[in-house]
């Protein structure tokens, strides 16, 4: 079924919006990211999110933000890699292609995933023209707006809801800060907001920030307030290289597949998609990524599962258990009658 797990073509329809709305999403092509962090800033500016962190170098290349959280809804990761790692990534990517993994492949129904119809890429010339000995991966992470969203499914108050765009948004006027959603997200994206005040080194009494929505759950809204007026999200608008693309989800997935094919043609078999597989543990995500290495390298879970996926099975098991209990009770009483 599509309500809690498995492929689900139109999550918004399941949430009462009908079928007239196009699902919106991101395609983040990290192969053209320049690591500028404009997305982080534009997002903060639009949403008036507080400054994050302790104003010290984090110790992770140029990344001083760390991860997504209540105050940071776009986060750029930096990973420096030498030749060995590049070759490994190229190899694992090649294996993904030759195994025919459904996560990579055009939707036109080609016989060989990752290439044009009929083309078998697993044996293509895979030496890219200018093999570097070093590369610096940069990637802008964001809430996945999962097709089956763990945060949404476990929310007891209805603060989290599925919008007409198929995105998942917290209603800040309803959220009571219970925090159940925090454990429900397989990606560790949503968090409750702290007081937000930061004490810089030495506590020099600098101006503190006015923090909205203290204590409640916060995450990327895919700029819901902008989408309702037909404007694009702040991060997508500002990205200088269109590494962050925004549009209809179907178009985004299609672009992603085309881009993969293009990169593989150039010998960059390390390129792979993340979140584009509707059969994965969250039903595919609204924010699709093109990665140049294993997800773990970027700090992403390799096989995220929505916790409510097992719900039907759990109910069935519980029903069986209940039934068994009733049967056993009945037997016990029946037995007693004799």
């Amino acid at each position: 079924m599509g309500l809690l797990s498995g492929p689900e073509a139109d999550p918004a329809a399941d949430a009462g919006w009908g079928h007239d709305h196009d699902r919106k999403g991101f395609f983040t092509d990290t192969s053209i990211c320049i690591g500028c962090k404009a997305c982080e800033v534009a997002c903060k500016e639009w949403n008036h999110n507080p400054q994050d962190g302790n104003l010290q170098i984090m110790g992770s290349s140029y990344d001083n933000t760390g991860s997504l959280g209540a105050n940071t809804w776009r986060h750029v990761a930096f990973v420096e890699q030498g030749k060995d790692r590049i070759e490994e990534a190229r190899e694992t990517g090649r294996k993904l292609v030759s195994l025919g993994m459904p996560s990579i492949g055009p939707r036109s129904g080609a016989s060989t995933p990752g290439g044009r119809p009929g083309e078998d890429l697993s044996r293509a010339d895979t030496a890219p023209p200018d093999t570097p000995e070093f590369r610096w991966l940069m990637s802008s992470d964001v809430c996945k707006h999962c097709t089956h969203a763990g945060c949404l499914d476990v929310c007891p108050t209805g603060a989290l809801f599925r919008t007409e765009f198929g995105t998942v948004v917290v209603q800040e006027d309803i959220c009571n800060g219970c925090g159940t959603c925090v454990g429900g997200c397989p990606f560790g994206v949503i968090e409750r907001r702290d007081d937000g005040t930061v004490a810089p080194k030495g506590q020099r009494g600098r101006v503190q920030q006015d923090v909205p929505n203290k204590g409640t759950a916060n995450k990327c809204t895919l700029c819901y307030d902008r989408l309702v007026e037909g404007e694009e999200p702040a991060c997508a608008k500002t990205c200088p290289t269109t590494s962050i693309k925004f549009g209809d989800h179907d178009d985004m997935v299609e672009s992603a597949h085309e881009r993969i094919a293009q990169l593989h043609e150039q010998g960059m078999t390390e390129a792979r998609l993340y979140g584009a597989n509707p059969e994965d543990g969250v039903g595919g995500t609204g924010s699709v990524f093109l990665l140049l290495d294993e997800p773990e390298v970027y700090g992403l879970p390799p096989d995220p599962q929505v916790p409510t996926k097992d719900l039907p099975h759990m109910y069935r098991t519980a029903a069986v258990a209940m039934g068994g209990m009733l049967a056993a009770t009945a037997l016990a009483f029946l037995g007693g009658r004799r």
Binding site: K44, E45, I57, R206
Partner: protein, 934 residues
């Protein structure tokens, strides 16, 4: 740039310093262009390039020179292009001697003045015995000559450099005569081989070949290559020559004036281009006219002739008109033909008065007052300690900014207060901090790096006391004129006769459109009196027109603010001529005549831009022709006429006196007609190419606080065994005034860090993300160490060179969100003689683990190392190291111990002229006090 087939980014970190501009490089890449990044560090630009080539900072002339040699030796240059458009065939005077003859010097060097007499560099004339002299042959009224060879006299000339007498040098179109530019060029770069590149730059043969092949295979009729540079080229002694080398290379490959070609100068501030066009610079007047120099420009005729002779080709020949229009705009009715349009109202220079020269003057108590208009020299200028010490000598300062930048608070906090070198109570400098209006609170224009003038609308009113600079300056002018209104002193006439009558609105704000209208120019008399000019070609030299900046004429054509036009890009072609306005005349690609061949046909269909329409008898194409629109490609040019009429139909380089692109520059640069590799002053590598180690014309300042590392002179080179380079990161902006105060930016890069290779970290014992202290001959700073493979040690001349990276955005202060040490404190003042720009890219240092000392001990550590290295005031000041000095002069004839520099001509007081026996550096290393006044 999106149309380039290959983009070479060198001396720039475009993705980090110009991210949104970089989208066009990514656009080119998506279209299949090859992107190469040549840089000492692997940066975010490198991450998106096809190839990163690590190189030693300061050796760009070797790399580019080797590329020149490569294309010349292997006949890979674009022959038709250079024959049509460059001065390859021009013949140079037989008196000229190249660096190949003189061990690294050119003919005409005078060790006394540290400058060149450029007589021997000139073209030969077509008449026997004549020469196409430069201004040095022109005799002024009282017999004085233009001292065009005089180092530092670059300020005597505008952007066109000294003029040529006329535009007809002798030529050999076969390019075989050994005195042709072509042959001289070949010979000059003959030893700039790929092996020399490996030896000097540390670049592998494979990488050099890759670069050379990329350039060659992407040039010619069908393909073009574009270079992009920034301060990685300009902030060097010899920086102007680095750029020149790329210009020569691009001319040889036919990559100028064509789509996706050229050399993109990536400038760094909102209107830095505008602030050189309409210059708040000492040596220029608006439109790249020079300031008047005493002895060079004794009268108005001499002045205008020094800019451009009426006999020469091209648009500088109209120099008189441009100057008259400026003077008319400034002095209105007081500027008449009878008084040479108030030419005498202009103050005179007698040598460079750049910011570093002014600093030396401040230290000598020669400057009373200092205005800072949105700049933070305590952090952003070289030798930060001297900058702050200099400010302590002032009587007063006016700091106009948004927040309490360090240049406003140095008297209360900062390194010199910490160390006790300065005491707050002893500092007599009076400081006015005036809050400034920001870009949303005032309307006005910026000029972007590609010469595009864009107007900004006002959004809101400035708060509190904040006012725009326009309001402040207008008010200051009014007050000054009011206070002087009864003066009979002739020196006050220029102020009182100034046109200073701008309309103000109800709130007292000056109308900025009135100012841009004045800049544009108008008819002063005749039937069109009062109407704006449309083009600088309408400017007359009789006072019937006026215009504040001739290159901007047209920005207010028809009374419409062309800079404010905002036709959406979706409604225009890629040139987008109706979005804002570019100078000159809204041309977007300069020298676009060169996009067509000698017959006026595009070099290829693929790279079509402009072409000659033989039916309409005019130049056609999507851009505005950068050429007289109706000049036939086969027009021989009317050489008797001079000016634009003298241009031949293939004189695409309309600003040059001979209409040609200059592979060899007979005038305009004071340190050589051809770029030459010299080692930076503090480099420990002997110049592999010549005995002449460093640039002999460089400007230096002898001062206790400005000592140089030994370099290759002297012993103790192990005290400062490494070099560092400074740069920006994306998250911050320059000296931090607009980024360290913002939490959203500060949290992205909160602390000062340095970047070092794992090899260096191991050698010195620095932990990843641990503290490191960097010490130069001037200062010591601490930074968190990012140990990264993005920094690679290079093998140069048999030595391992370790380069360290340091972003310069931080400063010590308590008002910003984040603070840190100021990296520019480490850098000394050594300037390029053409531009007076300092070297920020190659500075000697040492690095050690741990934090730096606090208080007095900080500078004591610096001095301890100075002593260990045996530094004296004259260390690094040896001007000439070529042993066989020309004209029989021997090094022992030059008194090197006094380190006499060209500053002598500027008549500065004794402060900096101390020799080694001065009290400045005593035995026990105690530093002298800055000499606070009051």
């Amino acid at each position: 740039m999106a149309n380039a087939d290959c983009i070479i980014i060198q001396g720039s970190n475009m993705a980090e310093a110009h991210p949104v501009g970089f989208q066009w490089v990514m656009e080119a890449k998506a279209r299949g262009a090859r992107i190469i990044h040549v840089d000492p560090r692997f940066t975010r630009t490198s991450a998106n390039a096809h190839k990163h080539i690590p190189t030693r900072a300061g050796t760009d002339v070797v790399l580019l020179g080797a590329l020149i040699n490569h294309v010349l030796s292997n006949d890979l240059y674009f022959e038709d292009y250079i024959k049509a458009f460059t001065n390859a065939s021009s013949i140079v005077s037989s008196d000229f001697q190249d660096t190949e003859d003189l061990e690294g010097l050119f003919s005409g060097f005078d060790p006394e003045t540290g400058s060149y007499d450029t007589d021997s560099w000139q073209y030969s004339a077509s008449q026997e015995g004549e020469r196409v002299g430069d201004a040095s042959t022109f005799t002024g009224r009282d017999g004085s000559h233009y001292t065009s060879g005089h180092a530092g006299a670059s300020e005597a000339f505008g952007a066109g450099g000294p003029p040529l007498e006329h535009g007809l040098p002798e030529r050999d179109e076969t390019l075989q005569d050994p005195h042709t530019v072509f042959q001289i060029l070949k010979r000059h770069y003959s030893r700039y081989t790929p092996e020399m590149v490996t030896e000097t730059c540390g670049i592998s043969r494979a990488d050099f070949d890759y670069l050379a092949d990329s350039l060659v295979s992407n040039s010619g009729r069908e393909r073009t290559t574009c270079f992009a540079y920034a301060v990685g080229w300009t902030q060097h002694v010899g920086g102007a020559q680095f750029i020149r080398t790329a210009a020569i290379l691009q001319l040889l490959m036919g990559n100028v004036g064509r789509p996706g070609s050229g050399i993109m100068a990536l400038r760094g501030h909102a209107t830095i281009q505008g602030s050189t066009d309409i210059p708040t610079l000492f040596n220029l007047l608006p439109g790249y006219l020079p300031m008047v120099s005493v002895g060079e420009h004794d009268d108005f005729a001499a002045y205008t002739d020094s800019i451009g002779r009426s006999e020469q080709k091209g648009y500088w020949a109209n120099s008189r008109a441009y100057a008259v229009n400026l003077l008319k705009a400034w002095w209105g009715d007081a500027a008449t033909a009878e008084n040479d349009f108030a030419f005498d109202y202009l103050p005179r220079l007698n040598g460079p008065a750049g910011t570093y020269q002014t600093l030396m003057r401040m230290l000598d108590d020669g400057v009373d007052g200092y205005f800072l208009l949105g700049q933070n020299p305590a952090v952003g200028s070289a030798n930060g300690r001297m900058q702050r010490l200099g400010m302590s000598h002032l009587k007063w300062m006016v700091v106009r900014d948004f927040s309490m930048i360090e240049s406003a608070t140095w008297w209360k906090e900062g390194p010199e207060i910490d160390s006790g070198e300065l005491r707050t109570e002893d500092i007599g400098t009076e400081i006015f901090f005036l809050p400034a209006a920001n870009h949303t609170e005032k309307a006005g224009s910026f000029t972007q790096t590609q010469r595009l003038v864009q107007w900004r609308e006002k959004a809101v009113e400035p708060p509190g006391d904040a006012q725009s600079e326009l309001e402040f300056l207008f008010d200051l002018g009014n007050r000054i004129r009011e206070k002087l209104k009864d003066s009979t002193d002739p020196r006050d006439r220029p102020l009182l006769d100034l046109t200073w009558d701008y309309p103000v609105d109800e709130s007292g704000e000056v109308d900025p459109e009135a100012v841009i209208a004045e800049i544009n120019g108008r008819f002063e008399s005749g039937p069109d009196a009062g109407k704006p000019l449309t083009s600088y070609t309408q400017m007359t030299d009789d006072g019937s027109t006026s215009g504040g900046c001739w290159i901007y004429t047209g920005v207010y054509a028809d009374g419409i603010n062309q800079a404010a036009r905002k036709k959406p890009r979706t409604e225009q072609d890629e040139f987008a001529h109706e979005w804002a306005w570019a100078w000159p005349a809204n041309r977007r690609i300069l020298y676009n005549r060169a996009s067509a061949d000698a017959d006026g046909k595009p070099w290829s269909e693929r790279k079509k831009l402009m072409w000659w329409d033989d039916e309409q008898k005019c130049w056609s194409g999507p851009d505005v022709p950068d050429f007289p629109a109706d000049k036939d490609p086969h027009d021989p040019g009317d050489t008797d006429a001079g000016g634009p009429a003298a241009l031949a139909g293939n004189d695409a380089f309309i600003m040059q006196a001979d209409g040609r692109g200059w592979l060899y520059a007979p005038t305009g640069l004071v340190d050589g007609p051809l770029p030459t590799h010299y080692e930076p002053v503090e480099s420990a590598i002997p110049n592999p190419l010549y005995p002449q180690q460093s640039n002999p014309t460089r400007v230096s300042f002898q001062d206790r606080h400005n000592l140089n590392a030994p370099g290759t002179s002297g012993t103790h080179q192990d005290v400062y065994p490494y070099v560092f380079s400074t740069y920006r990161v994306t998250e911050h902006h320059t000296a931090g005034g607009m980024s360290r105060w913002l939490p959203y930016l500060s949290e992205l890069q909160p602390e000062l860090f340095c970047e070092i290779s794992p090899e260096l970290a191991e050698e010195v014992g620095i932990e990843p993300y641990g503290w490191a202290t960097v010490i130069s001959p001037r200062a010591a700073i601490e930074a968190i160490a990012l140990v990264t493979e993005r920094m690679t040690p290079l093998t140069v001349a048999g030595q391992t060179v370790h380069q360290i990276g340091l972003p310069y955005h931080w400063a010590q202060g308590t008002h910003a969100v984040v603070d840190g040490d100021s990296v520019n404190d480490l850098i000394g003042m050594n300037l390029d003689a053409n531009t007076q720009i300092q070297n920020s890219k190659v500075t000697a240092c040492t690095i050690r683990p741990g934090r730096r000392p606090r208080g007095k001990a900080r500078q004591e550590l610096v001095e301890q190392l100075q002593r260990e290295a045996g530094l004296t005031l004259s260390t690094g000041d040896t001007r000439v190291t070529a042993p066989d000095f020309p004209e029989g002069t021997h090094p022992e004839d030059i008194d090197l111990s006094t380190g006499e520099t060209i500053e002598e001509s500027f008549d500065l007081p004794a402060h900096h002229r101390q020799g080694p026996q001065s009290p400045g550096l005593s035995e026990d290393g105690k530093h002298e006090q800055g000499g606070e006044e009051d």
